[in-house]
Amino acid sequence: MLRKRLITVLTFNDGVLFRTKDFIPDYRYTLNFVDAWSVDEIVILDVTRPNQGKRENFYNVVRQFARKCFVPLAVGGGVRTLNDFKTLLGLGADKIIINTEAVKRPEFITEGAKSFGAQCVVVSIDAKKKDDGCYEVFTDFGRRSTGLSPDEWAKKAQEFGAGEIMINSIDKDGSLEGYDLELAKIVSNAVDIPVLICGGAGLWQHFVDGFNKGKASAVCTTNIYHFTESSIKSAKIYLKNNQIDVRI
């Protein structure tokens, strides 16, 4: 039986690991540390603002992770061209995460899927709840409103050839209050491809809720300080005790 996945998301600013939201540098990780976890998959994102760092510094991060981590590696942030796909895959990424460029030009999803296979293309969606209770997709680090609803956009991304959807709640990101389960559910119900949910996990119970109520295929956590070597295993035991099939 296919196990539910627990994914660690690491964000890098100019090659330095950062916690999301507060953008505080976090030097407490080492590569060996990451490799020792029983994490199912690793996502690394470049959150360097334009012209505020060297892309090469991020490439070095990707290269090091690829060499040391024998789990799937999804890489994103600033991917705009097929050449970016090629570069990151060449450095050892297994999947490429696209966001802003896909919103601008949905055919970019198709181009990526045609060249590298649908399983290689993860469409990341950042969404916020509006005052009227509806959700809207934002791009460019959550600054640009798009007028799209996340479920419709996810569906369209699937039609254009996405292999997986990664849905991130801008409101909950970094809050530790739990995932936006309503958002997770509407997106999961809209598509037939796997859905990864992000933003807000602070307790192990949040993972359980993400799977059961949010209908997620995978839950992501962006705050690595929850994950010392032993705690990821404990998190999985907690999931297993709550009837979620995970790899231990």
């Binding site: 296919l2 196990r3 024998f70 590298f116 296979g117 399983q119 997986e164 037939d192 295929s217």
Partner: protein
């Protein structure tokens, strides 16, 4: 020498990294000279079937591979798309002819239960249906990382050594003489994956 065949569609650094990790020195190459000299070959692959065949053709590798694998019987391990390319045919976006070493067709996973999403992505079982040297030191409950929308339907059941279940059973490991293949990614399956790779490199 272990040659990882570079036909433009592999996660080559990951495969090479895993080969190194288990103590072998890989060479990533698409040069006929290198492939000819290889003791063992790995045909990795991530991507679409038609592109894979097209690239192998354009690199003039098909005749060479046929000779090395079918006549000289050098051990070769196909991974994911690499496994699928070894088959007779594929129905991924149309109908395409494969290398034809394995009497099998590549067809889409099509679970009726819509909760089972496609692609089949994540950690799943390897049901060891027959003993294989690849399974040495691999526990029966070991999990491996899969990511695929298509699977290999074998006409010859004798070559099926491993299976996985996604509503219906599908083939996850093939062994036919010197030809070995896995639908999952050993290079992405941590300890058990590395062990499987090591088994192929040491004993295959």
């Amino acid at each position: 020498m272990i040659v990882i065949i570079d036909y433009g569609l592999g996660n080559l650094p990951s495969v090479a990294g895993a080969v190194e990790k288990v103590g072998f020195k890989p060479l990533i190459s698409n040069k006929i000279n290198d492939i000819e000299k290889a003791e063992k070959l790995i045909l990795p692959g991530v991507g679409a079937f038609a592109d894979g065949m097209k690239n192998l053709r354009e690199l003039n590798l098909i005749n060479m591979l046929n000779k090395i694998v079918l006549k000289e019987k050098k051990p070769i391990l196909g991974i994911c798309l690499g496994m699928q390319l070894m088959c007779k045919e594929s129905y991924e976006f149309g109908h395409h002819t494969g290398l034809g070493w394995i009497d099998a067709s590549v067809i889409r996973l099509n679970p009726k239960d819509k909760k089972l999403r496609v692609p089949h992505v994540g950690w799943d079982d390897l049901i060891q249906v027959k003993n294989s040297l690849l399974f040495n030191n691999i526990p029966k409950d070991a999990l491996f990382y899969y990511v695929h929308s298509f699977h290999t339907k074998c006409n010859n059941k004798d070559i099926i050594f491993g299976e996985c279940e996604y509503e219906e059973k599908f083939t996850s490991v093939i062994q036919q003489n010197n030809i070995y293949a896995t639908q999952f990614h050993p290079e992405k399956s941590q300890l058990h994956g590395l062990n499987l790779l090591k088994n192929f490199l040491e004993k295959g």
